[in-house]
Symmetry: C2
């Protein structure tokens, strides 16, 4: 009898663990108004019969990637491009004078702390022109298996902001579909997203290069060309979400840096539908970085529209996981 009760207990745990667990779902978040607003929003949209109830099908959350889920100084994507640019530079004398190649090759990670989204993506597009998509994915796996962040001296793959990873898990446990919308390479983030964030490859949206379908050795192969197909930033983000997801998100999260997430957050806000918009503020010089936007556009939009500003320094008890 005791044994059966134990089995039932285990089964009960398996069946109900995510949604009704009494353990704190967001242990890395200080018990602040920010955390309370996130919990209240999720409670509102998941409580059947409440006026703000949203069916699981419409519980769409979209996260920016660089600077929102992991550090963007320097851009890990840019570092990945740089090692290949360096190895190919002998065959490309034009890179010695052309931007952004010249700056990347001369200044390395210092440049990749400040480079624009567009410049970083240009580096990837050019560095991997001619690779098959299958080989590119393998390149990503191999690079990130060993590459380490220059300041934190641990693998990039262990620099996910742990409060954000908690938030993703908490949302999924509450019936949300969680997508990433990055201005970086969609092909790169997809390879890592499952391990880093628990998000499957097809739930990642991002910038893409033009590819071509070729017959090689009797098989169809996709090869990357050097040109940019779409840069997923600013107004492109809502357009890409509509094209890929086909529903308007009710939760959108970005960070304060280039203003590239403003349109995505605005798009997730519509009259009569409960929604939440979140911007991460990089104000933690000691544990991560401290930087702002020159024109302050993101903060202005946040104040005008009632968005939630998250202070990394104050609201996050922990930035990276201990292990």
């Amino acid at each position: 009898m005791r044994r059966l009760t134990a089995i039932l207990g285990v089964l009960g745990l398996v069946l109900s663990a995510p949604a009704s667990s009494s353990a704190d779902p967001l242990p890395g978040w200080r018990d602040s108004p920010v955390r309370q607003r996130i919990l209240a929003f999720v409670a509102t949209v998941t409580t059947p019969g409440s006026p703000g109830y949203v069916t699981p099908m419409d519980r769409i959350a979209v996260f920016d990637d660089d600077g929102t889920l992991w550090p963007e100084k320097p851009r890990a994507q840019g570092m990945f491009a740089l090692q290949r640019l360096r190895s190919l530079a002998g065959d490309h004398p034009e890179w010695q004078s052309q931007m952004p190649f010249k700056a990347a090759l001369e200044l390395g990670s210092k440049y990749l702390e400040e480079a624009s989204d567009e410049a970083v993506f240009q580096l990837i597009a050019a560095a991997y022109a001619g690779r098959t998509q299958d080989a590119f994915r393998q390149d990503v796996r191999e690079y990130f298996a060993t590459a380490r962040h220059p300041r934190f001296e641990r693998p990039y793959t262990r620099l996910v902001y742990s409060p954000m990873r908690e938030l993703i898990n908490y949302l999924k446990a509450n019936g949300f579909r969680v997508f990433i919308s990055t201005s970086g390479s969609v092909d790169l983030v997809r390879v890592l997203a499952e391990d880093l964030y628990g998000i499957p490859a097809d739930d990642v949206l991002g910038s893409s290069v033009v590819s071509t379908l070729r017959e090689e050795d009797g098989r169809l192969v996709l090869r990357r060309l050097g040109s940019v197909h779409a840069l997923n930033d600013g107004p492109r983000k809502p357009l890409a979400i509509d094209l890929h997801v086909g529903r308007r998100p009710i939760l959108a999260l970005g960070n304060i840096n280039s203003g590239g997430d403003i349109d995505m957050l605005r798009y997730s806000q519509q009259p009569g539908v409960p929604s939440l918009q979140v911007l991460i503020s990089h104000d933690d010089f000691e544990r991560e970085y401290a930087y702002d936007e020159p024109d302050g556009a993101s903060v202005k939009a946040a104040n005008a529209n009632g968005w939630l500003l998250v202070s990394m320094r104050y609201d996050w008890l922990q930035i990276f996981s201990a292990e």
Copy 2:
């Protein structure tokens, strides 16, 4: 004790129902070599330790839509466009002379039995130019709530091929991610896919129009323009799968009509990885339609590459569900 055993039994069923249920997963399929090959393929890729085992993450299946999951004579998408073309024709005298508008307006469903993928999508693009994406989705819902097929005299939404619906459920129960890749409007199929096929909106790929992001009444709104962004057919299908899914499918299903699925099926076949390619043959004049491809390209590709040909007449015990 008996009660506990019963509870355990129910829990066991809940936990293991899809994969190990002893009920026939494909009751609408005749017990033919076709059905046996499908069952054998699924068994191979889902048996841990077997040389053909494929992890759930890589169990990607892609289905064409029109003619593969429901009839394409006439095109339901074309009928949806036609009713709006007719209501707007007074403001568009040019449609009286321009193709494909002229043919659609003059010949109606007869034209839509033979029109090309490209022509049908042009009709939708033009008919709904200027609509917001939200309004377009509502238009789709309203049209398909009442519209009936001219020959079968039942709603289009009750003309899903029931053996294919069984196959989708069977694949999902075996850990497959199931996508649709249609040459029709992605925005249209998405509205219906959840109800028709149990496939969520974001797992549908298809043709798209150019949209624009506009500020209207202080909100960001997406409006459809009249031009075609991408026609998802032929070589576009593998490219779109790579862009949207980021993995190569191991199972691809299309039908014999225009040859538009050949590239998608070829792309799903690669050395060293178990895969299955399926083409539906419309050879059932009595229960559905009988038609072929003028150049026979799909059948030639099937024979050259070992693809599975499904005879609707012989292999399917039932075409549509009884209710």
